[in-house]
Symmetry: C2
Subunit: 140 residues, 2 copies
């Protein structure tokens, strides 16, 4: 795996959503901190702890191939010296599905190391109810 | 509201679970950072942003009064200089319920300010499936 350097948490976040949309497992795992105890919770899933378990969870997620595009809204960020937290609503669009899915609430924590900023943890869960009309900020 | 000083994220976390078990709204909100953009997602809930919205969500949660005790397991912590992240499984015991509930996965982020460490964000979601037998570490 090629280590990637991210100068800011925002750079790592942009690479994260790019890898997510492309269902690119290597690109996804290049964003996670290899030398930390990483952990990840997918919507309706158990918490996965450790790089190998997190990688396997993304391998399963990506096994059906790329199919969803994601837009972000209502982002809240807090930047520390060694850690940064991003909270965001993710709106997924899946081709062939007519009814929009409820957004996913995501809390992503980035950690700064010798190789720049990488993902330390992700906690994602489905928001209840219908999708709100207010999808303002997007990645694209 | 009386401002409380917490010297470490662990101190704030202990006070958080104490307030949670007692359903004490004032004690709960004394743990949250008043001067930050706080946000909170309860299990199966939408994300609440801002001190007033977070307070209202806890008021509703506590409106039925204290009834659950909580044990923690599989805690993962990462301490930064200004931020700290705690990920933990919360096991709730509700009197009168014979079947144990699935654990709650919680990601709590603490922030350091002039008044010590306080809760910046909480993301909680229900873990799927049955409760595991391995409840090792507890708060008590």
């Amino acid at each position: 795996m090629t280590a990637r350097f991210f100068a800011t948490p925002q750079d790592a976040a942009a690479a994260f959503y790019d890898a997510l949309e492309r269902a690119d497992l290597d690109a996804m795992m290049a964003i996670w901190a290899e030398d930390e105890e990483v952990f990840c919770t997918h919507p309706n899933g158990a918490r996965q702890t450790g790089f190998a378990a997190v990688r396997e969870s993304w391998r399963q997620t990506f096994s059906i191939g790329p199919r969803a595009s994601v837009r972000l809204s209502e982002q809240v960020q807090r930047l520390g010296i060694l850690l940064a937290v991003h909270s965001v609503l993710e709106h997924y669009t899946v081709p062939g599905e007519e009814t929009p899915r409820p957004p996913v609430i995501a809390s992503n924590v980035y950690v700064r190391g010798a190789q720049g900023w990488h993902l330390l943890s992700r906690h994602a869960s489905s928001a209840p109810g219908a999708v709100t009309a207010d999808i303002s900020a997007t990645l694209h």
